[in-house]
C-alpha cells in the first residue's frame, strides 16, 4: 500500500514535470518564433561559421571550444525561418532537463532534495538563460557552456563518491576538462561538486582560482574576468521589441522584400508618432530615437531605389536620409553603423560600400559578419575584381546558408548593371562629404536617379533652396525630373526671385501644384497642406532636430 502511494506520488510529480516541460516548450517556441524571430536572423549574421578545419582549429585558441563549436555550428542555421526558435527551444529544454537531473542528484544530510524545490530551481536557471537570450549579443555557445558544466557533473558525480584521493582526482580532472571544453560552465560543475563532496571540492576551487586561472591568462590571452566568463555571460534582459522591429526591417531589406519594409514602416508607431505634422511630438527615449532613425533610413533607402523618394520625403518629420552621416572615425549607433554600406551600395559608391562593409564586419564579435562578407563579394563583383571575388565567395562557399548564393552570384546580371553606376571620378575625401560623393556619381552617370534624388532631397531637407535649384538645373535640364516635391520647392525659389511668368512656365509643369500654392498662400499654414514642401519649409524648425 505504502509503495503504491509512493509510486502514485512519483507519477504525479513526473506528470507535473512533463507538463512543465511541454508548457515551457510551447511558450518558449511561440514567444521566440512569433515575437522574437528577427533577433535570430541578426545573431546568425554576426558570425561566419566555416565548414573547414582551419576555422574549427581557431576555436582551440580559447577555452570552451566544445561549447563554441556546438553553439556556432547551430547558430548558422538561425538564417532559416523557424530554425532559431526550434534550436533555442530544444537547447533550453535540454538545459532545464540537465539542471533538473543535476540538482535532483544532490543529497542534503543524506536525503535527496525535494523534487518541487529541484523543479523550481531548474526552472529558474532556465528562465535566467531565456532572459539572457532576449539580448541580441548573447550567444548560444554560452548556453552550451552551462549545459556542459551540468552534464560533466552528471557524468562524474557517482565517481566523486569514491575514497577522497580518487574523488579529488575526479573533481580536479573534471574541473580542467570542463573548463577546456565548456569555459564558464566549470562554475556550474564546481558549484554542484561543492554540494556533493565539499571537502574535496573546496581545495580544488582554491587551486583552480588562485593557481590555474592566473596561469591560463597568458595561455588564452584573456583578462581574469574574461577567463571566468568565457564564452560570455549576461545579466537579465527584458524583451527588446524596438530592436526586434529594427531587425525585422533590416531582414526584409537585406532579403529584398522591400514591400515588407514599407509595410512595416507604415505600421510603425515610432514613425507614425512623428507624422503628426507640425504638431508637438511625443518624447521618445534615446533607444526609440535610434530605432526611429534606422527605420526611416531603411524606408527611404527602399523608396529611393523604387524611384519615389521625392514622393515620400514629407511623410515623416523629421526625416532621415543618412547623407549627412560621418563614417570615418564615427560614433554612430551600432545598427546605423552596420547599415551604412547599404546606402553607399544603393547610390553606387562602391569604394565606400566596401569600406562600410569592412567597418561593419569589425563591429561584431570575432570580426566575422556573414552579411558584410556577402556585401564585400558583391562589391568585388561590381568592380569585376576577380581575385577579391574568389576570396569572399570562397569563404561563403564553405558555409551552409550562403553556399548556394555564392555559387550563383557570379552569374547574376545585376552586378554588371550596377557597374554602370559606379563612381568613375578619381579624387580623395578625408570626410564623408555626401554632396561631393553624389555629384561625382552623377558626373559618372547622369542617369543615376538614386543619387540624384538623394542629392536633391538632402538639399530640401536642409531647406537649401538655392543649392537645390542649382543642382536641379545642372542634372535635370536634359532629363526633367517632374516630381510634386521638386515642383513645390521650385515654386519657393521662383517666388523668392519674383520670377517672370515665362520662368514659372519653364519650371512648373504641374498645374495643380501652382493652384495649390495659391490656396496655401491664401490659407496660411493650414494642416491640410501638411503633405507639401511649403508646409515643411514654413513650419518645421530643422534647428531643433
Amino acid at each position: 500500500m505504502f509503495i503504491k502511494m509512493e509510486k502514485r506520488k512519483g507519477n504525479i510529480k513526473d506528470l507535473w514535470l512533463m507538463l512543465v516541460i511541454i508548457g515551457f516548450v510551447v511558450v518558449c517556441f511561440c514567444f521566440f518564433q512569433l515575437l522574437y524571430s528577427y533577433h535570430f536572423y541578426f545573431k546568425g549574421q554576426n558570425q561566419l561559421f566555416l565548414m573547414s578545419w582551419s576555422y574549427v582549429s581557431m576555436l582551440f585558441d580559447k577555452p570552451a571550444w566544445a561549447a563554441c563549436l556546438a553553439g556556432e555550428f547551430l547558430t548558422q542555421f538561425y538564417y532559416y525561418d523557424m530554425a532559431g526558435a526550434t534550436i533555442l527551444t530544444i537547447s533550453l529544454t535540454v538545459l532545464f532537463w540537465l539542471a533538473y537531473q543535476a540538482l535532483g542528484s544532490l543529497r542534503f544530510k543524506n536525503q535527496k532534495l525535494n523534487r518541487w524545490v529541484v523543479l523550481i530551481a531548474a526552472l529558474l536557471i532556465t528562465m535566467r538563460e531565456v532572459s539572457c537570450h532576449l539580448y541580441y549579443g548573447y550567444m548560444l555557445s554560452s548556453t552550451f557552456a552551462l549545459m556542459g558544466g551540468l552534464l560533466m557533473f552528471l557524468i562524474l558525480h557517482r565517481l566523486m563518491e569514491c575514497r577522497w584521493p580518487w574523488a579529488l582526482m575526479v573533481v580536479l580532472s573534471g574541473t580542467l576538462l570542463c573548463y577546456w571544453l565548456f569555459g564558464y560552465g566549470v562554475w556550474a560543475f564546481l558549484f554542484l561538486s561543492v554540494f556533493a563532496v565539499w571537502k574535496v571540492t573546496a581545495p580544488v576551487v582554491v587551486t583552480f582560482v588562485f593557481c590555474l586561472l592566473p596561469f591560463m591568462r597568458s595561455h588564452y590571452n584573456l583578462t581574469f574576468t574574461g577567463l571566468c566568463q568565457y564564452p560570455g555571460v549576461e545579466s537579465f534582459h527584458a524583451p527588446d521589441f524596438l530592436k526586434e522591429t529594427d531587425f525585422h526591417m533590416m531582414h526584409s531589406y537585406e532579403t529584398g522584400d522591400w514591400d515588407d519594409v514599407v509595410k512595416t514602416a507604415e505600421a510603425d508607431p515610432l514613425l507614425n508618432i512623428l507624422t503628426e505634422k507640425g504638431s508637438a511630438q511625443k518624447k521618445l527615449t534615446q533607444e526609440a530615437q535610434v530605432s526611429s532613425t534606422i527605420r526611416r533610413f531603411l524606408y527611404n533607402l527602399v523608396q529611393a531605389q523604387k524611384g519615389i523618394l521625392p514622393d515620400v520625403l514629407m511623410e515623416y518629420y523629421p526625416n532621415y536620409l543618412g547623407t549627412f552621416t560621418s563614417m570615418i572615425g564615427t560614433n554612430l549607433p551600432m545598427l546605423m553603423f552596420m547599415n551604412l554600406h547599404e546606402f553607399y551600395y544603393a547610390i553606387g559608391d562602391i569604394s565606400r560600400a566596401e569600406r562600410g562593409a569592412f567597418m561593419s564586419c569589425v563591429s561584431v564579435p570575432g570580426n566575422r559578419n556573414a552579411n558584410t562578407i556577402k556585401r564585400l563579394a558583391e562589391c568585388a563583383l561590381v568592380k569585376n575584381d576577380q581575385k577579391a571575388v574568389e576570396k569572399f565567395l570562397g569563404l561563403l562557399r564553405q558555409t551552409i546558408p550562403y553556399k548556394d548564393w555564392a555559387e550563383s552570384a557570379p552569374n547574376d546580371k545585376r552586378y554588371r548593371q550596377k557597374a554602370q553606376f559606379i563612381n568613375l571620378q578619381d579624387s580623395i575625401s578625408p570626410s564623408e562629404d555626401s554632396y561631393n560623393i553624389m555629384t561625382q556619381l552623377l558626373r559618372s552617370n547622369p542617369k543615376n536617379e538614386v543619387a540624384l534624388d538623394y542629392l536633391l532631397c538632402s538639399q530640401l531637407l536642409k531647406k537649401d533652396i538655392d543649392s537645390f535649384k542649382r543642382d536641379y538645373d545642372l542634372y535635370c535640364t536634359e532629363c526633367p525630373r517632374i516630381r510634386k516635391l521638386y515642383q513645390e520647392a521650385l515654386c519657393i525659389w521662383l517666388m523668392k526671385q519674383k520670377a517672370t511668368e515665362e520662368e514659372w512656365q519653364k519650371y512648373i509643369k504641374d498645374k495643380q501644384v501652382r493652384n495649390r500654392m495659391e490656396e496655401y498662400i491664401r490659407e496660411g499654414a493650414n494642416p491640410r497642406f501638411a503633405d507639401t514642401y511649403w508646409f515643411y519649409f514654413d513650419i518645421f524648425n530643422i534647428d531643433t532636430h
Partner: protein, 476 residues
C-alpha cells in the same frame, strides 16, 4: 610544441588512420602543365630551417607528391609534411625535385616537375606581425604576434583582450635582436612599450612642440637611440572603386630619442616646416639616418603631387648629434620605408607613383639599391601586380620579408625572398602554415612583418602589466 599543435597533430593522426587507404596513382597521364598549387611554392629558393611548405592542390580528389625521396599521398588536395621528414629532406638536399600527381574527375595526372632550391643561409627563426583588418582607420580586436618560422608555433605579444581593445602599432626590433624591441599601445594610458632584455618600460615619446606622437621608428645599432617620425596622419576615401583608400600626412618631422637619458634630439633639417619628413631608419653602423622627404603641397587637392625622395643625414652616436649634410639618394618615384641590410650593402625601399601609404597602391613595388654602386634593382622576380611593401631584413642580410597583397588584392601576407651574396633576388614564397588553406579563411592582414633572431621574451600579459606603469616622459 604548443597545445594547439598537439591537438592538430592528434586530429591529423586520427584523420590519417581513417584515410589509411589513400588511392595510389594508376594510368597516369603526363601533363606539360604546371601544378596549380596554393600557396605558389613552385621553383622557390628556401632556407634550410624553414617550416614544412604545406600546400594544397585545389579541386583534387587525391594527390601524390614526391619530393626528393619522400612520398606523400592524401585524399583531397592537402599536402602536409611531417616535421621530422621535412627536416631531413632539407638537410640532405640542395635541390629538391617535386612531382605532383593529382586525381581529378577520375583521372590521375602528373604535372610538370618543379624544384625547391635549399640554401644553407638560415632565415631568422622568428617573425612578428600585427593582425588587422584591411580597413586602416577603424580597427577592432588587434593582435601582435610572433611566429617561429621553423615550425608553426605562434604566440601573442599583445592582444586586444588584455590591452582593453586599444589600437596597437607595429612591433619593431633593434638589429633583429629579440632582447631589444618596441611597440606602441595607443589611447588613454597607452605609450611606447620598450623591451630591453625582457624588462618592459612605458615611454611617452613626445614633447609639446611635436606635431603628434611618434609613429614610425627604428633602433640605432647600439640600442641607445631610436629615430622616429611624428606624423599627423589623415585617412581619406578614394572615390574610384579600385583605389580604396589614400592616407597622407599633413605634418611630419623626424627626431631621435635617447633611451638612456630620455632626451629628444632634433635638427632643423629633419623638422623643416616646408617639408614632410618620415620613415627614418639608421644605417647598420649608426652613422647615417635614412629617411624620406617631400615638399608640402596643398592637401587633399594635390595629393598626387606628394613625391617623397630618399635622403640621408649623418648621425654621431658617441655625441648624440645629427649632422647637417643631406645626401639625396633616389628621386625617381615616391619612396617609403627605406631599410638598410645589416651588412650595409643594400637598401630596400618601396616605390609608388605618389604619396606615403603604399598598402592600397597596386603599383607599389620593392626596389633595392646597392649602396656601393648606387645601382637600383627593380626586383622583377619579387614584385607583383598588387602592393608589395613593409619589408624587413634578416640578421644575415640574405633574406627579407615583406607584406604582399598579390593573392587577393586585400589581405597582406608575409613573403620571404632570398638575396644571394651578389645581390640577386629570387622568387619569394609565402609564410608556410600547418593548414595550407589557412589564408583562404583568414580575414586579417599580416601587417609590418619583422624578422628576429630568437623568441621575444615577453607576452601579452607582460604588456598589460607594463601599461599600468607611469609613462616615462621625454624632454628636449
Amino acid at each position: 610544441m604548443k597545445r594547439k599543435d598537439i591537438y592538430i597533430d592528434m586530429a591529423f593522426a586520427l584523420l590519417m588512420m581513417l584515410t589509411a587507404c589513400t588511392p595510389v596513382p594508376h594510368d597516369v597521364k603526363q601533363s606539360k602543365q604546371e601544378a596549380e598549387i596554393y600557396p605558389d611554392y613552385k621553383d622557390v629558393t628556401i632556407p634550410v630551417n624553414i617550416a614544412p611548405m604545406n600546400f594544397v592542390m585545389r579541386g583534387a580528389d587525391a594527390v601524390e607528391v614526391k619530393a626528393g625521396d619522400l612520398t606523400i599521398r592524401s585524399r583531397g588536395g592537402h599536402v602536409e609534411f611531417g616535421m621530422r621528414e621535412w627536416r631531413r629532406l632539407l638537410e640532405e638536399n640542395d635541390t629538391i625535385e617535386v612531382e605532383v600527381t593529382a586525381l581529378k574527375n577520375g583521372q590521375w595526372t602528373a604535372y610538370k616537375l618543379f624544384y625547391w632550391y635549399v640554401v644553407r643561409d638560415s632565415i631568422d627563426s622568428y617573425l612578428t606581425y600585427r593582425l588587422i583588418e584591411p580597413g586602416y582607420s577603424v580597427w577592432n580586436r588587434l593582435q601582435i604576434k610572433q611566429r617561429c618560422v621553423e615550425n608553426f608555433d605562434e604566440y601573442a605579444l599583445a592582444d586586444y583582450n588584455l590591452q582593453d581593445n586599444r589600437c596597437m602599432n607595429c612591433h619593431t626590433p633593434g638589429s633583429q635582436n629579440p632582447q631589444l624591441s618596441m611597440l606602441y599601445v595607443r589611447g588613454n594610458g597607452g605609450g611606447a612599450i620598450l623591451n630591453q632584455n625582457g624588462r618592459l618600460r612605458k615611454l611617452d615619446i613626445k614633447t609639446p612642440d611635436m606635431v603628434a606622437t611618434s609613429t614610425y621608428f627604428q633602433f640605432a645599432p647600439s640600442g641607445r637611440y631610436i629615430v622616429f617620425s611624428s606624423n599627423v596622419v589623415v585617412p581619406a576615401v578614394r572615390s574610384l572603386a579600385q583605389k580604396r583608400l589614400e592616407v597622407y600626412d599633413t605634418e611630419s618631422d623626424v627626431y631621435v630619442a635617447d633611451l638612456e637619458t630620455n632626451r629628444i634630439i632634433c635638427s632643423q633639417r629633419l623638422s623643416d616646416p616646408d617639408q614632410l619628413e618620415t620613415f627614418p631608419a639608421f644605417s647598420p653602423d649608426g652613422r647615417y639616418i635614412y629617411y624620406c622627404t617631400s615638399p608640402k603641397v596643398k592637401l587633399p587637392e594635390d595629393y598626387k603631387s606628394l613625391k617623397y625622395i630618399l635622403a640621408r643625414i649623418p648621425f654621431d652616436e658617441a655625441t648624440g648629434t645629427i649632422g647637417t649634410q643631406v645626401d639625396t639618394l633616389f628621386t625617381e618615384r615616391s619612396v617609403c620605408h627605406p631599410r638598410v641590410s645589416p651588412d650595409g650593402e643594400r637598401i630596400l625601399f618601396t616605390v609608388q607613383d605618389y604619396g606615403t601609404f603604399p598598402i592600397w597602391h597596386k603599383e607599389a613595388d620593392l626596389w633595392m639599391m646597392n649602396l656601393r654602386t648606387g645601382m637600383v634593382d627593380t626586383l622583377q622576380m619579387v614584385n607583383s601586380d598588387m602592393s608589395d611593401t613593409y619589408h624587413s631584413w634578416s640578421s644575415n642580410s640574405r633574406w627579407f620579408v615583406f607584406a604582399s597583397k598579390r593573392d587577393d588584392g586585400l589581405y597582406g601576407k608575409p613573403y620571404f625572398c632570398y638575396v644571394d651574396s651578389k645581390g640577386k633576388a629570387y622568387k619569394p614564397f609565402c609564410l608556410p602554415q600547418q593548414d595550407p588553406t589557412f589564408y583562404d579563411d583568414c580575414l586579417k592582414s599580416f601587417n609590418a612583418p619583422e624578422m628576429i633572431r630568437g623568441k621575444i621574451p615577453f607576452n601579452a600579459v607582460d604588456v598589460a602589466n607594463a601599461l599600468s606603469l607611469p609613462a616615462e616622459p621625454f624632454k628636449r
